[in-house]
């Protein structure tokens, strides 16, 4: 590592500034209570909607015999997708020894953990009888992607949690030293977490090795979580899902969603937490480039996924593709593909566009598109079963989400934000000790 080491005196000064800057939001957080209140309000409304769904059954949704997977499953796929970003930033880029990611790894991991945890809950929301959840484990079939999905999502949550907690060990020590006046219960958390951190060399060795192992381990697990999710669809024979490239198609799409989510979070923390010295224009520039890269890969997969079957137009596929390209879903489809994917990634090729504010809005567009895309993958296919739809009630013929469904789709987003808010309240959103390392602060004083 070619960082200029600072002298002891400079080290103390530098560390003090880093600590002050990064820990400040934990105690100075204007509007925090109001924000929490807002989230709780969503939870109350969502909770009531869920109560109605529990009481009356899934009939309160628009899901029927044909569209038995609706917005909830689309939402689930989106959540799993967004959760992949933790692995992408801290593992893939980290193992490639890309330096500039240090200030955003924790943000990425917070997002990953929050989305992964809520992905599991979203699935429970989709269940008419959540009391039977245990049956998936008791009677699940090893041959079914469903069992693998539950397994791999919970595994990913565990690894993400570890990957978030490990770098918090030295930070917990720092918090104990710098903010001794925090509430007692909060101090208990740091007491538990800091594990007697004294910045000894072998402690560094242990933690770095552990983080490295996890960084490697999380790659196959993250690939598995989204690939298995794609197999929930691709393992069927249905036109529109019966695709050999669904795995990589989903994974590449996940990176697009995740990078966009991180950019939005970066923007928010930079201005709200006053971290512009740490999350700089340079970081936005780089993340903009990353977004262009992952979008390009995703567009390439889209090309394969849609235009190869469209060239052949086999009967069943034609029905589906016609509805997407020119039929019922055309507006949504082209909006998603052009306005939310092609245009943002094209604009971001230009350096002038890779500025925080423009990137915020382009990322919001990309993220909306990412969500709509999951909806378009899940829902329209089911309206074209191989056997014609005959002699069924009118409501079976289409799928228009109900108010309850929309509420219960928004609820998990509030949940994700709540988790991120809590983590960002309890810990610095940027890893203090790793930044200090980067600045050349003497390792032995970071405790």
């Amino acid at each position: 590592m070619s960082v200029n080491k600072l002298s002891t005196e400079e080290s103390y000064k530098s560390l003090d500034k880093i600590e002050t800057d990064l820990l400040r939001p934990m105690t100075h957080h204007k509007g925090f209570e109001l924000w929490i209140l807002f989230l709780i309000l969503i939870f109350i409304v969502g909770g009531y909607a869920y109560f109605i769904q529990l009481r009356d059954g899934l009939g309160v949704t628009a899901m029927r015999d044909y569209s038995s997977w609706g917005m909830y499953i689309g939402n689930f796929v989106f959540f799993v997708a967004a959760s992949l970003i933790g692995m992408f930033i801290s593992s893939v880029l980290g193992l490639l020894k890309i330096k500039w990611i240090t200030p955003i790894t924790r943000i990425a991991e917070m997002i990953a953990l929050a989305f992964a945890m809520w992905a599991g809950i979203v699935i429970v929301i989709d269940m008419g009888r959540p009391d039977r959840l245990l049956n998936v484990f008791l009677h699940g079939r090893f041959q079914s992607p469903i069992l693998w999905d539950v397994t791999v999502v919970s595994t990913y949550v565990a690894i993400s949690l570890l990957l978030l907690l490990l770098p918090l060990i030295p930070d917990a020590a720092i918090i104990r030293r710098r903010l001794p006046n925090l509430p007692k219960w909060q101090m208990k958390i740091y007491d538990l977490l800091y594990l007697g951190w004294e910045a000894r060399p072998e402690q560094y060795r242990i933690i770095k090795k552990a983080m490295r192992i996890l960084a490697i381990l999380i790659i196959p697990v993250a690939l598995a979580i989204h690939t298995v999710t794609s197999w929930l669809f691709a393992a069927t024979l249905r036109a529109g899902w019966d695709s050999a490239i669904f795995g990589p198609y989903f994974v590449s799409g996940a990176f697009v969603a995740g990078v966009a989510a991180v950019i939005i979070a970066m923007y928010f923390f930079r201005y709200n937490y006053k971290l512009s010295d740490y999350i700089t224009d340079f970081h936005f520039n780089r993340m903009g480039q990353v977004l262009v890269l992952v979008s390009a890969i995703y567009i390439y997969f889209n090309l394969n996924e849609y235009f190869v079957p469209a060239y052949k137009m086999r009967t069943a596929e034609k029905l589906h593709l016609d509805e997407m390209f020119t039929g019922h879903w055309a507006i949504l489809y082209w909006f998603t593909q052009i306005a939310c994917l092609a245009i943002p990634s094209f604009l971001l090729i230009f350096k002038r566009m890779r500025r925080p504010f423009t990137m915020l809005w382009l990322s919001v567009l990309v993220l909306i598109g990412a969500w709509l895309k999951r909806f378009l993958i899940v829902v329209p296919v089911q309206q074209h079963p191989y056997l014609p739809i005959q002699n069924v009630p009118e409501s079976f013929h289409h799928y228009i989400p109900t108010g309850i469904e929309i509420t219960l789709t928004i609820l998990p987003f509030a949940g994700v934000l709540l988790i991120i808010t809590i983590i960002a309240k309890l810990f610095p959103v940027i890893s203090v000790w790793e930044i200090a390392h980067e600045k050349g602060v003497d390792e032995s004083i970071i405790k």
């Binding site: 041959q143 595994t155 565990a158 594990l195 007697g196 004294e198 242990i206 933690i207």
Partner: protein, 314 residues
Amino acid sequence: MKSNLKLFLALSLLWSATLVMGQATVPWQVPAAKKSVKNPVAVSPAVIEKGKSLYITHCKSCHGDPGKGNGLPLVPKPTDPASDKYQGQTDGEMFFKIQTGRGAMPKFAEVISDNDKWSIIHFVRSLKKKSSAGAGEIILDTLPADLSVASASLSGQPITLKLKYRDSDTSLIATLTIVNEEGETVPAPGVPVAFFIRRYFGNLPISEEVDHTNQEGRVGVSIPRNLPGDTSGMLHIFARIAEPDKFGAASDSIDAICGKPSVMVNITEERTLWGRSRVAPLYIIITFFGALLIVWGTMGYVVMNVMKIAKKEA
């Protein structure tokens, strides 16, 4: 199924052919020279047997069971080979007609060899002769004239059917008896008996044609040796009077170990992708738990290692 389809095709073809030809019931003229051709094939039971099986394959679908008049309702109707009209022809006439065909009657010139055609003619001729088949042998279709008299006298009395299996030549013998006016139990000759094997979906006829009991009231059929039975090779066999309207109903059944033992595999107990979890393919189970073990094992290892941070300096 397949032969039904063929039949249907033939039927519709013939039907249209007949339409085209109009109601051509002009007598079928055979050149004098052809008329007097003699059957060059020497007659023997084997030849008759062969002719019979050829008849069943090529002609029965239209001409029906000899003597029953149950040919297809075409116009003109395919003549019953046991009828006087048919038998009234010379062998040469028959051969010529089979060779050339007319209207709905196909041309068999290239379809079957001349020898085979002559064999069919021998078989058709044998229908007129009296059958002398004994018990256990397969006797010929049509009632000899004196048997039809005998069977006519049976009507009205309940007939008893007893089925027996003979292991030595895997044949079945049905013995039919009837109680006469004097109260004696006597054989019931000339009664058509059909033999079947019970299958899951309906009954499998053992032979294509229906045979009649001989003077001793017996009729037999031999069971092909390659029929799949249950796991022990058991076949569930039964015989019944083929024309219950005419002779009254009677039947008997018997189980005999004369089929090929079937090896029953319960496919739901095999390890398959579509099966229950308990019979999941081993590679999937190994992959699942293997991956789980590696990932969670590594996580456990990492956590245990990290706990060492807490150890105070030695």
